[in-house]
């Protein structure tokens, strides 16, 4: 290799190191045997994982996060998939307005969404309840479901639905037997994104989780104010593994759906 090749490659390598290294450090520190944060760890052990799994102060928020995220998945996937099916067929003007409303949580700064929700929900005594967390997180998760389902809808050959209808299938049968199987990967990817959006969400949780619905990120945040002991490294590593697995699954699903779509569209005349 010439210098002209090695130099750019090493620059890219350094930047990739910058991206990956902090995550690696958290994972390594979580397996430390030391009672305080130090890197590299003097020896390895599972004491911080034991500390996490034996402490109800950590396990309870974990369950709250999981339940809230699961409820968000159901609500956001149902509402989002229905809406995506409708929006694709709306007249243009109405479609722009509807998409603007639904996608805006991606753009509106998190703090503005959080205090707006806090402002209104506190008026109805919702603050500090898991229901409030589900209601709010669904709003943040829905854009991902809608974009994902819309993307897979736009890849469907409209002749397939027309063929089903003209062969005598009812609109309902056409939907369940033709459209739904075709958009299923998109729905699944949307559901995975919805889960992670809720599971990782912190800003809204800071304002409305109160004392009755403390989620895992909120618990980590509270803990970090006083100390940075390696328990948080263990919790972080577990969440990194969980989200990476789910996101990896979503990524592969989407790649496969795209490949299938290209295969079918190139087969069509």
């Amino acid at each position: 290799m010439k210098l002209a090749q090695i130099l750019p490659a090493s620059v890219v390598g350094l930047i990739l190191f910058f991206l990956a290294f902090p995550i690696v450090v958290v994972a390594v520190v979580s397996f430390s045997s030391a009672t305080y944060l130090t890197f590299p760890p003097p020896a390895f052990g599972l004491r911080w994982y034991e500390a996490y799994f034996s402490n109800p102060d950590w396990l309870k928020p974990t369950w709250v996060s999981i339940w809230v995220a699961c409820a968000v998945v159901v609500l956001a996937t149902f509402l989002g998939t229905l809406a995506a099916l409708g929006i694709a067929r709306l007249p243009r003007g109405l479609r722009v307005v509807a998409a603007g409303l639904i996608l805006s949580p991606l753009i509106v700064p998190g703090i503005v969404v959080a205090i707006g929700i806090y402002y209104a929900y506190s008026r109805y005594g919702l603050v500090g309840t898991p229901i409030a967390m589900v209601l709010a997180h669904t709003c943040l998760a829905v854009p991902f479901v809608v974009t994902s389902v819309t993307a897979s809808l736009s890849g469907i050959d409209p002749r397939l639905e027309q063929a089903a209808l003209s062969l005598g299938a009812t609109p309902g049968a056409t939907f369940f037997q033709v459209t739904l199987p075709l958009i299923q990967p998109g729905v699944l990817v949307g559901a995975l994104f919805a889960f992670i959006t809720s599971f990782d969400e912190l800003i809204v949780a800071l304002f409305i989780s109160g004392t009755g619905a403390v989620t895992l990120p909120r618990r980590m945040w509270d803990d970090l104010r006083f100390q940075i002991d390696p328990t948080i490294a263990a919790v972080s590593t577990l969440t990194i593994i969980l989200t990476a697995a789910l996101m990896g699954a979503a990524h592969l699903l989407r790649r496969r759906a795209e490949r299938n779509r290209m295969a079918t569209s190139s087969a069509a005349p």
């Binding site: 750019p8 890219v12 930047i15 990739l16 910058f18 991206l19 990956a20 290294f21 902090p22 995550i23 450090v25 958290v26 944060l37 890197f39 509402l79 989002g80 229905l82 809406a83 099916l85 409708g86 929006i87 694709a88 709306l90 409303l101 753009i107 509106v108 700064p109 998190g110 703090i111 503005v112 969404v113 205090i115 707006g116 929700i117 806090y118 402002y119 209104a120 929900y121 709010a136 669904t138 709003c139 829905v142 809608v146 003209s166 005598g168 992670i196 990782d200 912190l202 800003i203 800071l206 990120p217 980590m220 945040w221 970090l224 940075i228 490294a233 969440t239 989200t243 990476a244 990524h251």
Partner: protein
Amino acid sequence: MSEVVQPASLALAVTRPKTAPLNWRKAVPLLLAAPLLIYMLVFYALPVVAMLLRSVNDPTWTLSHYATLIDDVVFQKTFWITINTSVTVTLGCLILGYPVAMGLVRARSMAPFILVVILLPFWTSVLVRSYAWMVLLGRHGLVNEALLALGMIERPIRILNTPLATQIAMIHILLPYMILPIANALRQIDPSLIRAASGLGSTPFMTFRQVILPLSMSGVAAGTLLTFVLALGFYITPAMVGGPRDITLSMLIAQQVEQLNWAYAATLSAVLLATALAILAVARKLPGVGNAFRTSMR
């Protein structure tokens, strides 16, 4: 079978769009979208609007809360810090992101590995990544230890809880938002153009300067604007690793809400939101950006 098909297609051919059954069918898309639209209005949009209204109707209809911002030293300092941080972070992301995007597009066997290294931090929550930087940049953190070992400093320096820590952590968090749109734009460049340039005697640098860079500008613009808008609203990272006196607009808003100073918090929120929307409105006007923006939002 044919007996079923015939009347159905006949009926379709005869009915005009104005008849009742077709009107009902026209309403179906709206009926499908309605539950979510109503949900978003009730649980998200109206709450945010009601909160923002406090900036103009507290205690009566007035614009005085906006007028006082003109002489508000705290607001001006905060706004300046927010813009300054966002600009620095965006520039940092651009400088670090462009080479990685090129590496990603050019790499053949290494491409999946590079993609995973970009996406793994991307998939990790902002809280966890900010925590990682707390671990690295602390007084006895790895960065200080390394600098001490190399003899570059005599005693641990303060990095955590300074603006520099915020900038490093935010660059780390936002870098994928810069890399992915640029890589998208680079991927769409016709490779024959690059071959033609070098075939005509252009050096690699000239090819980059005169062919690749101009053709990737839509991705650069999309990545820059996306990064900048996201940086404007950052709250968790500056609150965790930033300096106690380097307050961003988001932190000031949270502080005001804690003191139940809703009118001021709403006014600041409106300013933050308007700034973000203004940048996006400009972004949509730029040729090619709208499209690149939409694909990168997915």
